[in-house]
């Protein structure tokens, strides 16, 4: 018996090592996971903690995917993605932002911007390379930098600046090891946007320090009052930019898992290398749906945008009315009110609000230290629910008035 065990290599155990790699251990656990698990077990909760549209995908898009399945689109596609889709992405970016990308070499279809972020980091970072990131920031940026061996350098943004990143703040933190700036505007969680002028400042820093810019523009179509500026469209910036775009938010297609990355051929080639061995390709039916979305989905996007805009105004006005100062979010579908006046931390506030009033929202601290003192409230939920949530929050605030 013992011999058999030894023969199988089970006998003498090597010194025990952790099951999980140091690299993954180094990623801090999501502190609010527990809180969220709890929330799924509670009844009667109104959740402003969502991060996706409440619309289902426009039916003609779903229908296109169903038809594609009927036509036998059930196979792998090119590692780059369907050429028709890449051509359509190129047309879209040309028409909307005047950008010229070669669909054969400069566009990669990904399984969402999520994969795009990961691919970009793995493609451009060497161990120890630094990535500057305006913060509060989308939760994936830091882990993706760390998993690729990079060093995440948060650049705090402030409410006084409407949560736009200042070029001077980037400039101050740039070092010889800085490889890239990664940013997402319109911003999750703050709803901030960066105008053309603001982006010029970022471009200057990028040029001065020869940095790449990873620009997550997934909320590009959800901009209110003004038109989005695509970072790559600034003079000289296309060659420095990895543009990440998607379908999840604009077309209410979160579950389809499809998006795209655009950059110069050398970078796309590198990203494709990783994608080829880890993902192979984005799901073909989702690619077919995305094709339909780009070809004929413009009207849907506009209608949804107009609808979010109405709810945005109700949410922001409502938050201010119950006594939470809230800067004007001009993009995405989040409001980011300050809860500093209550004396509670954002995690305490969110937890008490859930237990006492059954309203779920995400503490700003989940998005980095500079998010402390704020609460992310998603308004992609029905007006009735927004109203009820605001009423409950008003009651909560009266009870916790300092």
């Amino acid at each position: 018996m013992q011999q058999l065990a030894r023969w199988l290599g089970l006998g003498a155990r090597p010194p025990r090592r952790a099951l999980v790699s140091r690299r993954v251990q180094g990623i801090p656990p999501s502190g609010i996971r527990k809180f969220f698990d709890l929330l799924s077990t509670m009844e009667g909760v109104i959740s402003l903690g969502v991060g996706e549209p409440d619309f289902t995908t426009p039916w003609h898009i779903s229908e296109a995917a169903i038809a594609a399945l009927g036509q036998g689109y059930t196979m792998y596609t090119s590692n780059y993605g369907l050429l028709e889709l890449r051509q359509e992405v190129a047309r879209y970016l040309k028409e909307r932002y005047g950008l010229a990308y070669d669909p054969k070499t400069e566009i990669l279809i990904t399984t969402g911007v999520s994969e795009g972020i990961d691919l970009a980091m793995r493609a451009i970072l060497d161990p120890g390379d630094e990535v500057m990131c305006p913060e509060p920031s989308y939760v994936s940026y830091m882990p993706c930098v760390a998993l690729a061996g990079g060093v995440f350098v948060p650049i705090p943004t402030r409410e006084e600046d409407d949560f736009r990143v200042r070029a001077s703040a980037l400039q101050a933190r740039a070092t010889a090891r800085t490889r890239a700036i990664m940013m997402g505007y319109p911003n999750n969680p703050t709803g901030a946007v960066m105008g053309r002028g603001d982006l010029f400042g970022v471009a200057e820093v990028a040029a001065r320090h020869s940095l790449l810019v990873v620009s997550d523009e997934i909320y590009e179509r959800l901009v209110y009052d003004e038109k989005h500026t695509c970072f790559a469209s600034l003079p000289g910036m296309q060659e420095r930019t990895i543009l990440l775009g998607g379908f999840s938010k604009s077309y209410a297609m979160t579950g389809w898992r499809v998006g795209y990355a655009c950059a110069r051929a050398e970078i796309i080639e590198a990203m494709m290398k990783v994608h080829q061995y880890t993902m192979l390709c984005a799901p073909v039916m989702a690619q077919m749906a995305a094709l339909e979305a780009l070809r004929t989905g413009d009207k849907d996007v506009e209608e949804m945008r107009a609808d979010y805009d109405r709810r945005r105004r109700v949410m922001v006005a409502g938050l201010r009315e119950i006594g939470l100062p809230c800067f004007e979010p001009r993009g995405a579908f989040y409001a980011f009110p300050s809860i500093k006046g209550t004396g509670l931390t954002s995690a305490e506030f969110a937890e008490k609000l859930l237990f006492e009033e059954k309203v779920a929202a995400v503490p700003g601290s989940a998005f980095g230290e500079s998010g402390e003192g704020y609460l992310r409230c998603c308004y992609a939920t029905s007006l009735g629910e927004i109203e009820e949530a605001l009423a409950r929050m008003g009651r909560f605030l009266r009870r916790h008035k300092q």
């Binding site: 999501s30 969220f36 929330l39 799924s40 909760v45 959740s47 903690g49 969502v50 991060g51 996706e52 409440d54 289902t56 989308y138 939760v139 107009a306 109405r310 709810r311 105004r313 109700v314 006005a317 779920a360 995400v362 989940a366 998005f367 007006l383």
Partner: protein
């Protein structure tokens, strides 16, 4: 000219208050109120009502679509006959259509008998009506943009970052 943004919102929910309309559109409450008054005055807003699914309320009703062929009249075309039809409260909607017949009439009644009697005794004998074809509705799925079953349940996770 009516304010289209306000009409769009009211078309979805007639109970939206002027204050809420003002918040949603970014205009003042006074401006929203006057926009509503204007739309009412110029007939852009016809009336405010409720979409009822009578089946859910436990009331059986019988619906029918009736194709009506008519002979157009000198000077008045189809209008005179259309009017004699749409004056009946039983006629829920009346449209002039292109194709093999002229008017599409939707009729509602309490029983099949009642609808049949209406068609045979009231509608068909109208002067100028040359023929009718009656289609009883077996199931109403969607009406005026609203799915009568109500929306599908949300599949969305209650949170995401």
């Amino acid at each position: 000219m009516s304010n289209h943004e306000i009409l769009k919102i009211l078309e979805q929910d007639a109970r939206t208050t002027p204050e809420r309309l003002a918040t949603m559109t970014g205009m003042s409450a006074a401006a929203a109120e006057s926009a509503i008054r204007d739309a009412e005055a110029e007939g852009a807003i016809v009336k405010y009502k409720t979409v009822v699914n009578w089946e859910k309320a436990g009331v059986q009703k019988v619906w029918a679509l009736i194709e009506v062929k008519i002979a157009p009249q000198r000077d008045r075309g189809f209008d005179a006959v259309a009017e004699r039809i749409y004056r009946f409260p039983e006629a829920r909607s009346v449209y002039l259509v292109s194709g093999t017949y002229d008017l599409a009439v939707q009729v509602v009644g309490d029983t099949m008998q009642e609808v049949a009697t209406f068609v045979a005794n009231k509608l068909a004998p109208i002067e100028g009506v040359q023929g009718t074809v009656t289609h009883f509705l077996l199931k109403r799925f969607k009406e005026d943009g609203d799915i009568l079953e109500g929306p599908a349940p949300s599949r969305r996770q209650p949170y995401a970052l």
